[in-house]
Point group: C2
């Protein structure tokens, strides 16, 4: 009998949520992410740092990807993010052949999800009320910063 | 009579080529990019710095985008790059509503071009022999680094 160990996605999401909370405390947009190997090892974690670093290129996923350093392959990695990835981060996931994406929520944003699925990437939505509320509250209070972050005028 | 001044795309491409050449001298992958406003003002320039900075997130386009700093709108910007953008950089262009992309070449890579066009983005290919040769030579000499940069195993 073969025992298949399923990674604990909720535990992985907690790492991303902690990054989002850290970002919020820093005065930033509360979106966090983490890149794990499929065996559960954390490779890198990060958060949206548009405000903190004055850097529009640092979305949660791209910051986690960056902090994971150079990898020869992403086939056996899982991207975990508090919010469904935007087109920029969806493109990253597709280009580097990350096979699984765990999203905390897709209520506040969801544009890339269907495209990722159409391209063979497994997207698992954990429907986290904590993620929905944390970002939803931020967006209501900071609509201009949010629109800047997703390229809306 | 209205005079419409067309930006000089070849002159803009030269800025990106200079970045690629700089990257090559640094020991990096020779791909450069620059973000201009539609009136021709340079907003930011950059180059692939995977090797130099040990940073997989810095493709030419994302480095140029980063160096342009926070912008409230990208509608009136032009992304110029020595190589047609990968999915990661194509996603960036779509998310931030950059309307025009000037590419030096699409021989060494072209995956995102049709998708960008389908999404209403104008892609102009300048078919630069200089760009084709510079990157083509690099890829032949450094196939492993190239595959790492585009997520191929």
């Amino acid at each position: 009998m073969k025992t298949v160990i399923t990674p604990d996605y909720h535990l992985m999401l907690n790492t991303a949520i902690q990054q989002a909370q850290k970002g919020l405390k820093e005065g930033g947009i509360p979106i966090g992410a983490a890149l794990f190997s499929t065996n559960g090892t954390l490779l890198g974690k990060g958060r949206n740092r548009r405000i903190q670093n004055n850097d529009p290129s640092l979305h949660g996923e791209t910051d986690a990807f960056r902090n994971a350093g150079r990898q020869l392959s992403y086939t056996n990695t899982i991207m975990v993010t508090t919010l469904a990835p935007c087109w920029y981060c969806s493109g990253l996931i597709r280009q580097f052949k990350i096979k699984t994406v765990i999203v905390g929520e897709s209520v506040n944003f969801s544009d890339g999800v269907d495209w990722l699925k159409q391209n063979g990437i497994k997207v698992i939505d954990l429907h986290s009320e904590e993620c929905i509320t944390m970002l939803g509250n931020y967006i209501r209070r900071n609509p201009d910063i949010w629109n800047e972050d997703i390229g809306e005028e």
